[in-house]
């Protein structure tokens, strides 16, 4: 069983929801990434979404754009991100790691090569913002060869017919983008998201995670009441941005603990 599947299974058995924080690999400096990942797991994260820095992050708001720029300033690209995952796996063989990023770094490495490299270092899932299902045949096939999950986004504008198309291709879990716009844009409308998630569940047995717009513990708590996973991105990255190097690990740990407590 894949790490993502078994994590969701054991959470369900304990009647808990998944907490998935996002950080951009290499932000603020690649030396901190692995330490931060371990600290987040110790503080209650169930999976980690690791952003691959990209020069043109079109779907991201200013907070994650700046994180990408900070990481790129230290020359952190896809090859370095894979090396960081490998380093993380030395001391953690259980926590699923999901790479989130854009198509071009994968294209540059070559889709088949990327899938093989990702498997070798212990990546469990890949979410590529600008590979919609229609353009994903090759990448799903290559990732599938290595049992890596292909995670897809569903948005407030995705219609029922299209949800069908997406869920047929998706593995691992579905990621519901809770608002129109870029990452971190606004606060989500909990009631609306609840209705949407209920509708999605009628079309799939896969777990459904919710992200984009989970800005505080209270929102995380209300989302966890109906979703299988809560993804917290811009809020985590903002904490990194506002921390000094000395406070970084302590601040991130405190944030994750606060979110954990709220959703349990």
């Amino acid at each position: 069983m894949s790490r993502i599947k078994s994590t969701f299974a054991s959470l369900k058995a304990n009647n808990k929801k998944a907490l998935i924080p996002y950080i951009t690999a290499g932000d603020p400096h690649p030396n901190f990434t692995v330490e931060m990942m371990h600290a987040m797991v110790a503080s209650g994260a169930d999976m980690i979404e690791l952003g691959v820095p990209f020069s043109d992050p079109m779907a991201d708001g200013p907070v994650i754009q700046r994180a990408s720029e900070r990481a790129l300033a230290h020359k952190v690209g896809l090859r370095k991100v894979l090396a960081l995952v490998q380093e993380f796996r030395v001391n953690d063989d259980n926590t699923p790691v999901i790479l989130m990023g854009y198509a071009n770094p994968i294209e540059a490495m070559g889709i088949a090569q990327f899938a093989a490299n990702a498997k070798a270092v212990g990546v469990d899932g890949v979410l590529t913002v600008d590979y919609p299902p229609e353009e994903s045949e090759a990448v799903i096939a290559e990732l599938g060869k290595h049992d890596i999950d292909s995670i897809f986004l569903l948005s407030p504008t995705t219609e029922a017919k299209r949800i069908d198309l997406v869920v047929k291709q998706a593995t691992g879990f579905l990621y519901y983008v809770s608002l129109k716009g870029v990452t971190g844009a606004a606060n989500l409308d909990v009631e609306e998201v609840k209705g949407r998630v209920a509708a999605i569940r009628k079309q799939t047995h896969l777990p459904v995670g919710v992200g984009f717009g989970v800005k505080d513990a209270a929102t995380a708590k209300s989302v966890a009441a109906f979703a299988d996973a809560v993804v917290v991105g811009s809020r985590t990255v903002l904490t990194i941005e506002q921390s000094s190097e000395e406070d970084l690990i302590a601040n991130i740990s405190a944030l994750i603990q606060e979110l954990r407590t709220a959703i349990d």
């Binding site: 540059a108 353009e135 948005s155």
Partner: protein
């Protein structure tokens, strides 16, 4: 008969093109695709478009035989398709009118655009004013500085100009920001993309609206000289003016199609914006697969060109396709070569061309020298150079 039939139903030109966008944009693109399919052959829509091209833009634009310049260069005869004489001063308006009429039919009260040199921004602001649409234009802060006259024009026309400070602060970053706006305001906003890039259906739709250039040119050349040119030359940033004049010629045998990219400081220096005339890798950016200037990790590298309109790391997917099937050739012209052609045309013909266009002129000049006097080169004179006078003055150390 048109034998060439691209793109396929999902916007692919062979391996290029397609629709590589986040899920949040898919529905809006589907809506656009359906509406464009509905109207692209609709007689009423086309009549309205044709009326505006004639009475608002001043089409057809003439073809002019640059005789004195041809004599001075010594060789082939150079003809100019005068898109610089269009209202707003460039070919861009052909496309913005088409898209704005579509926006109106789709009931979108707000239009947004990205712009590099500012010509597309001005053309969008112009048609938005004429149709009473709210208009927001994203422009790299670097370009806001070097294209100040166009920024002022957009403001006069009632548009809001948003300087973009992220990334390299040029055209590609303006496009990123416009995409972010669109995804946030999708229900009331139409994104008017200015070049033959972006996700499907944009490369096809922009090409179709710009094809009026080539359609006119074919008829005009027949009328003027009784035959078609030996070569058609146009500058390529994203590639809309080139696609517009190339497209109707793709099926015409014996007409060479030559796209001219910005070689900046020189192709060998790496400081250029010429993905097709160098060995760039294929990748995905701004919603389509094409040749891209990028590093080993797939990050887009900063480009350089004296002309803001050519300063783009990618190129429209149909150009990538035409290169691969060897129907079109792509070459680079440096900043210095472009400047020299710019001054040449000013002094011998009394036409101040845009710096973008000057790249095409410089290559035509190079080619003409080794061609016979009875051979013909048709250059798409895509825009006028009034917007560039600050840049040119600065290069000559002149304060205006």
């Amino acid at each position: 008969m048109q034998l060439y039939d691209m793109p396929d139903e999902r916007g692919h030109f062979g391996q290029f093109g397609g629709s590589f966008v986040a899920e949040t944009l898919v529905e809006a693109l589907d809506e656009l695709r359906v509406m464009y399919e509905k109207y692209r052959h609709d007689p009423e829509f086309l009549a309205e478009y044709a009326y505006d091209l004639k009475h608002f833009v001043g089409r057809p634009s003439p073809i002019y035989h640059a005789q004195r310049w041809s004599d001075k260069v010594g060789g082939a005869q150079i003809y100019l398709k005068r898109e610089d004489l269009n209202h707003t001063g460039a070919h861009k308006v052909n496309n913005t009118i088409g898209q704005a009429l579509l926006a109106k039919r789709m009931g979108k009260p707000r239009v947004i655009a990205e712009t590099g040199a500012g010509q597309h921004g001005v053309a969008t602001a112009t048609i938005a004013a004429r149709l009473g649409l709210e208009c927001v234009v994203y422009m790299g802060s670097e370009d806001v500085k070097r294209q100040a006259p166009n920024v002022f024009r957009m403001k006069l026309l009632g548009a809001t100009v948003v300087p973009v400070e992220s990334g390299s602060k040029t055209l590609k970053d303006a496009l990123n920001e416009a995409m972010r706006d669109w995804v946030t305001n999708i229900s009331d906003t139409f994104y008017i993309i200015g070049t033959v890039a972006g996700p499907h259906p944009y490369p096809m739709m922009v090409r179709d609206f710009q094809a009026v250039i080539g359609v006119e040119a074919k008829a005009q050349m027949q009328e003027m000289v009784g035959r078609q040119p030996d070569a058609v030359v146009a500058c390529v940033g994203g590639g809309s003016n080139a696609m517009g004049i190339f497209y109707p010629y793709i099926d015409v045998p014996n007409v060479r199609l030559i796209g001219v990219e910005a070689a900046g400081h020189g192709l060998e220096t790496g400081k250029h914006a010429a993905p097709l005339s160098t060995d760039s890798a294929v990748g995905v950016l701004h919603g389509n697969r094409t040749y891209l200037m990028q590093d080993q990790d797939g990050n887009i590298i900063e480009t350089h060109s004296i002309s803001a309109g050519l300063d783009y790391p990618g190129v429209g997917p149909e150009h990538a396709w035409l290169k691969d099937i060897k129907r079109a050739e792509y070459v680079g012209i440096t900043d210095d070569e472009a400047m020299s052609a710019f001054h040449g045309l000013c002094r011998t013909e009394g036409i101040i061309p845009a710096l973008e266009t000057s790249h095409a002129l410089a290559h035509a000049e190079k080619m003409a020298k080794s061609m016979r006097k009875d051979e013909i080169i048709l250059v798409n004179l895509s825009g006028r150079g009034d917007k560039d006078i600050n840049t040119v003055a600065q290069l000559a150390n002149i304060t205006l």
